[in-house]
């Protein structure tokens, strides 16, 4: 028998206004009387309205999973199931999307079909970690739903103290500013750490993210333990004819105000003939001029990535921005990508062995000291790792001569 639609006077107020309404979407599902999920979504609407009335949440976690995996399903049991029984179990399946979040309509429809059969019909594209979130599934349907997605070529993402689902920007698929093959690095690294995603046993969560340049469209710098950001080593490529055209079209004043003067290291000058000079030694590869003058400027030809480590949000010691660990790693050949993957695995292993329980990579690095971390990772120090050298004299430096000799040795041209 059809369950009555709950009264939702508060949620109803989120149906007006120009932005697409999730409440209207939920009601469409709740009114699909021929579908198995109609009553579940009516019940969900009732509970959500109750949250809006009382200004509290009513979900609790638990233990639900699929055979073979220890993560990927977010269990949700209602604390008010006496009032809203049909959505008593409302679990989420986190499913890893194609790298770069590309979809054919056939794929979208196939996913909808599975979720109509086994779930609530509610799907989020995408969660903050980059998963497709299939929201609303009772305990009995978790395994069959997963089996269908899995047969379609899709796998569960991360949760808990393990590798989390990752994200890469659109990158080389549709952006001329891409400095490496983002989806390739994304897939190689994540797909070689799946054991730590599916059977989470790390000290705490570990996130990788991949952006093709310093614009960082997937927010890797602060939101990942291991951020791979595209960059280049040689000079910005300048098309002088196009640059002169910009000056002619927009006027020299605007080009000064919006490009030249906004260069963070004052690396740009306009010549008498309206051509452009860039002092590449001062350029910090920040992308601003390239963003504004898309036809005239592009990243250099010697491309690769910068790796930042240790970004995270507040809990528990306060926010941490990623630290520049590897200023430049070339990413051109298959071997280059294998080298990056190998390095990522080494960092992960060191984290697994040395971090304390519930400690993120950035916190671990702070505790043991960045110099010790880079030594353990076998990385040579470079001034690109610091904002400025130390200001505090309280440090024991009796190894100075050896360290200075190492620097000189690295600086010397390779022996013939």
């Amino acid at each position: 028998m059809a369950k009555k639609m709950p009264e939702t006077p508060l949620l109803d107020q989120l149906e007006s206004g120009p932005w697409p309404s999730f409440v209207t979407g939920l009601k469409r599902l709740a009114n699909s009387e021929d579908k198995p999920y109609a009553n579940m979504v009516k019940s969900l609407l009732g509970q959500l309205e109750h949250s809006y009335e009382t200004r509290k949440g009513y979900w609790k976690g638990g233990t639900i999973g699929v055979i073979g995996y220890g993560a990927g399903v977010i269990p949700r049991f209602s604390e008010v199931s006496d009032k809203y029984p049909e959505s008593k179990e409302f679990h989420t399946l986190r499913v890893i999307p194609p790298a770069g979040m590309h979809y054919s309509t056939k794929l979208l429809r196939d996913m909808c079909d599975v979720w109509e059969e086994h779930g609530s019909g509610l799907i989020a594209f995408h969660g903050q970690s980059g998963d497709i979130m299939f929201q609303g599934c009772d305990s009995a349907n978790v395994q069959p739903a997963f089996d269908k997605f899995n047969e379609m070529g899709f796998d569960l993402g991360g949760a808990g103290a393990g590798i989390r689902t990752s994200m890469s920007c659109v990158g080389a698929a549709r952006c001329e500013q891409s400095c490496y093959d983002e989806q390739k690095a994304h897939r190689m690294i994540i797909n070689s750490t799946l054991d730590d995603m599916h059977r989470p046993a790390l000290p705490y969560k570990f996130k990788f993210k991949f952006s093709g340049c310093a614009n960082d469209c997937v927010n890797a710098t602060h939101r990942s333990d291991f951020a791979v950001l595209g960059t280049w080593k040689d000079n910005i490529q300048i098309d002088q004819a196009e640059f002169k055209k910009y000056v002619a079209d927009r006027g020299v004043k605007e080009i000064y105000e919006q490009v030249i003067n906004m260069c963070p290291t004052r690396a740009m000058t306009i010549n008498e003939d309206n051509s452009l000079d860039i002092d590449s030694h001062s350029c910090v590869r920040c992308m601003h001029c390239i963003n504004v003058l898309t036809k005239a400027l592009s990243p250099g030809k010697e491309r690769g990535c910068t790796v930042l480590v240790g970004g995270k949000r507040t809990l528990k010691v306060g926010d941490m921005m990623g630290i520049n660990l590897i200023p430049f790693m070339r990413l051109e050949t298959e071997e280059d990508y294998e080298k990056l993957t190998e390095f990522a695995t080494e960092v992960l292993e060191f984290f697994a062995e040395n971090a304390l329980e519930h400690e993120r990579l950035g916190e671990m690095i702070d505790r043991i000291g960045f110099p010790n971390f880079i030594e353990a990772m076998g990385i040579d120090v470079t001034p690109n790792m610091v904002a400025h050298p130390r200001t505090n004299s309280y440090v024991r430096m009796d190894g100075w001569d050896e360290e200075a000799a190492k620097w000189s040795e690295r600086r010397a041209p390779a022996a013939e």
């Binding site: 794929l107 899709f154 927010n219």
Partner: protein, 356 residues
């Protein structure tokens, strides 16, 4: 009994099988791009290949009917392919520029706003909230819907000095992350403890260890092993609540909303920065959070009027200074704005540089 099916650990799927042919053909070979109109990107490849991308906003939490409608539109106009952005916008790619206007008309007619490109206010990145999270202080989808209704015009225009990234978070863990404007729950009272449940539900040593202020200690309450909070030390962050649900931090009145500004992930021009507190004590006023919308609009309007071209929120404030920020937005400056956490000295003005 049949053998249990073992998972195929396939990981991240290969995107090429789901990628628009024009993107596949020109992969890694793009030369430049422009924005012919709001919501549209035009990319040109080295060999002259071209693609136009139309970007539209969605509600992120979508019912299958909405997803199928978006798929129908892709079948009709965009060769049966789409992609999603990190901020839950949908993108349609077309190789025939004549299809751009009809595609936009169709999206608008179906209720999907076209925009979010260039220097606009794009979709607010959001979290799960009351709909699905186990620890939320507020809702996410509802806050975002209410705010995007208010900021709709700015999504469909490119009139901001630079892009404005807004985030929301339903607890102080802040899954929504850094934003030019971040709208985050801020608890204002210590947790309310149900001592009957603590011993059975919580792993007490790890709860003690979780507290950033070392304010939790084991205690016997009414003869039962439990935990107690030193309320003088408690910073009301709620970090104890996820590992120990009997330490309820959410409260219909004392769970408030705070607004932070100037978070920036990119290394473009200035280095990445964290967002800073500007307003707090706002009521968790479902279903439309008007007090929050009011503060956000004040900040957006001051930034839009006063920032120079390409200055992000943090860069604008760096130039004009915090006194001017509080003056232009009309927000009060209090002792709570002054950081007193570890490393806070760096947040003080250690110079003779003052602004009036």
């Amino acid at each position: 009994m049949s053998q249990a099916r073992q998972p195929i650990e396939s990981g991240v799927p290969d995107p090429f099988q789901y990628m628009h042919p024009a993107l596949k053909d020109n992969y890694g070979k793009w030369k430049w791009h422009e924005r012919p109109r709001v919501g549209v990107l035009h990319h040109v490849a080295e060999n002259g290949g071209e693609v136009w991308t139309v970007k539209a906003g969605t509600q992120r939490q979508m019912d299958v009917y909405t997803i199928r409608k978006l798929a129908d539109i892709a079948d009709e106009f965009a060769d049966g392919f789409v992609r999603f952005t990190a901020r839950s916008n949908i993108e349609y790619m077309v190789t025939d520029p004549a299809k751009v206007d009809p595609l936009i008309a169709k999206l608008n007619a179906e209720g999907f706003p076209v925009g979010g490109t260039g220097n606009s206010i794009s979709m607010i990145s959001h979290t799960q909230g009351w709909l699905h999270c186990d620890i939320p202080g507020t809702d996410a989808s509802g806050v975002v819907k209410a705010l995007m209704d208010e900021l709709y015009e700015e999504f469909t225009r490119e009139e901001m000095p630079n892009r404005v990234k807004i985030t929301t978070s339903c607890c102080q863990i802040n899954c929504g992350g850094q934003g030019d404007i971040a709208i985050n729950v801020q608890h204002t009272k210590p947790p309310t403890i149900n001592h009957d449940l603590v011993a059975n539900v919580c792993e007490r040593p790890s709860v003690v260890a979780r507290c950033p202020a070392a304010a939790i200690r084991p205690a016997l309450v009414n003869g039962k092993p439990s935990l107690e909070v030193d309320e003088r030390k408690c910073i009301c962050c709620g970090a104890c609540y996820p590992p120990c649900p009997p330490m309820q931090i959410n409260d219909p009145v004392n769970t408030k909303i705070a607004i932070w500004v100037g978070g920036k992930h990119s290394s473009t021009r200035s280095k990445p920065s964290f967002h800073k507190l500007v307003a707090a004590g706002l009521p968790n006023n479902a279903p439309r959070w008007p007090e929050v919308a009011d503060v956000v609009k004040k900040i957006v309007s001051a930034y839009k009027k006063d920032a120079r071209a390409w200055e992000r929120m943090s860069e604008w404030i760096d130039r004009v200074g915090w006194p001017r920020f509080f003056e232009l937005t009309g927000l009060p400056f209090t002792k709570y704005h002054i950081d007193d956490w570890a490393g806070s000295r760096k947040a003080l003005n250690t110079s003779a540089q003052v602004r009036f």
